[in-house]
């Protein structure tokens, strides 16, 4: 309520000041809101992107961390901002696919945002400790079937990608009553979730490749499968196609830019051009690929379609398996 008011008044101010100047769209710095804390995967991705962007764009970008409630606080702040293109959101799979699909009490919906472009795709990998007895995804599934209610998996929180990812994978292998048969251990971030696997608190983790990459490279963890179409460098594990579960390709992380629903066409168009140029930057590419991500720019239309289809497939599963948070 208060934020609405604040954001509204800021928007009015912005509009009032922007109106008399007939110049082209960015006439003042643009604020990019990161709905997660500094140092997280989204934050690092945004900061890496902003470096080439600031060279291309006529106005500076101000990166703003607005963390809280699994990305909801920052997302709401952008939803309530004016659609003049001076406030944009770093949207991510957690805040804009998994959480909306799992949490009916979320204070925003996907329709309240207009996507400018998705620029990063992050396949999901299921990983276990190298000391673990599980050498393939089948070992894991067999273990869950043999010892129901004893296998633990960690995630970066309720309604996060690793929370949903593990359930989606298990479901595709025909495991029912997920609530009873596997145990979810939420933690406060991907780092903690992986630490839990490393120290044996949790048996496996199905989340983005980027936080898991150092542990795979270091030989402390073993990947069981990846959800990309092709095999990934450094991840010596079969793809979902090879396993025969192509439907799991829908399970990927992504990062993109979005504005409020009434974002102007002019801003959307310009951002498309800027993003296209920024993602070609070598340093940016190097940073993203070193973390196991795939740099892939989508047009606004493709982005919306991509997000909606991911949402639809997640939502179907949530309803079918009764996974809603309430």
């Amino acid at each position: 309520m208060k934020t609405t008011l604040i954001a509204l008044s800021m928007g009015v101010a912005a509009a009032a000041l922007a109106a008399p100047v007939a110049a082209e769209y960015p006439t003042r710095p643009i604020q990019m809101i990161i709905p997660f804390g500094p140092g997280g995967a989204t934050d690092l991705s945004a900061r890496a992107l902003s470096t080439p962007l600031s060279r291309i764009m006529p106005q500076p970008i101000v990166l703003t961390n607005r963390a809280g409630a699994g990305g909801a606080t920052g997302s709401v702040a952008v939803r309530d901002a004016a659609g003049d293109g001076y406030t944009l959101l770093l949207a991510r799979v957690g805040s804009h696919t998994v959480n909306p699909a799992m949490n009916p009490n979320l204070p925003y919906t996907l329709d309240e945002f207009r996507f400018v472009g998705i620029y990063e795709i992050n396949p999901v990998a299921c990983v276990v400790n190298s000391n673990s007895d599980f050498h393939s995804i089948d070992d894991l599934i067999n273990a869950v079937n043999e010892r129901p209610g004893e296998i633990l998996y960690s995630s970066s929180g309720v309604g996060s990608l690793p929370h949903f990812g593990a359930l989606m994978v298990l479901d595709s292998f025909g495991i029912t009553d997920l609530d009873e048969n596997v145990i979810h251990i939420p933690t406060e971030g991907d780092g903690q979730a992986l630490t839990a696997v490393l120290q044996g608190t949790s048996d496996f983790y199905c989340g983005s490749t980027s936080p898991a990459a150092p542990f795979i490279n270091g030989g402390q963890m073993r990947p069981l499968m990846v959800t990309s179409a092709e095999r990934l460098d450094g991840f010596d594990a079969p793809t979902v196609d090879e396993i025969g579960k192509p439907e799991l390709q829908a399970l990927v992380g992504w990062t993109g830019l979005a504005g409020p629903a009434d974002l102007t066409d002019e801003a959307t168009e310009k951002w498309g051009d800027w993003l296209a140029e920024a993602v070609e930057d070598e340093d940016f590419q190097r940073f993203m690929t070193s973390g196991g991500s795939i740099v892939q720019l989508m047009s606004p239309e493709e982005s919306v379609e991509f997000v909606n289809s991911a949402y639809e497939s997640f939502r179907r599963l949530v309803v079918a398996l009764d996974l809603e948070i309430d």
Partner: protein, 177 residues
């Protein structure tokens, strides 16, 4: 052993009067009870399925509320039965008239800061608040105070926006570069 200078410690143990302590104890118990029987049931959502009772979202808050109630009981009992130490200095909680007025004015300034922030902008609000507080606290060093009231918010503004990249709220009236 060097005796540390401690002008504050010489006037004994500062205490509140027995009546005040009793009221505090009872007040703590009332707060604890309100949390337990009013706030927790109404403002903590418990999910449909709670496999283990200790995992319910209300479990910890309930323990905390009980702790508060018990401590409130101990405080009240102590105020009723335990004698005060002999060198205790009883502090008076009453507020004199000029003090009360100043506190009221300060409260008004703090409230004003919060509501004016989004409209007027952080820099201008800070300048006004600074100047008002200098006046409120007796108005000594007035000239320096007014200079600082203008300079400090501007300095902070330029530091945070230009160096740290934080978008300081600008308000709707006058925008800074």
């Amino acid at each position: 052993m060097p005796a540390a200078p401690e002008p504050l410690a010489f006037d004994g143990v500062h205490m509140l009067s027995r009546r005040d302590e009793l009221l505090i104890g009872l007040g703590v118990m009332v707060i604890g009870a309100a949390i337990l029987w009013w706030i927790i049931p109404n403002y903590i959502t418990t999910p449909r399925r709670v496999p283990i009772r200790a995992l319910s979202p209300a479990f910890w808050p309930k323990i905390i509320a009980w702790t508060i109630i018990v401590c409130g009981g101990v405080l009240s009992a102590r105020a009723l039965f335990a004698p005060a130490p002999p060198d205790a200095v009883t502090d008076d909680l009453s507020v004199s008239r000029p003090e009360g007025l100043r506190l009221l004015a300060l409260g008004a300034i703090l409230l004003g800061i919060y509501f004016a922030l989004p409209i007027v902008g952080m820099v201008w609000v800070s300048m006004i608040a600074f100047a008002l507080l200098v006046l409120l606290s007796g108005g000594k060093h007035l000239a320096w105070g007014m200079i600082a009231a203008v300079v400090l918010p501007l300095l902070l503004y330029f530091f945070f926006t230009k160096v740290a990249g934080v978008a300081i709220p600008q308000g709707q009236i006058v925008r800074l570069p």
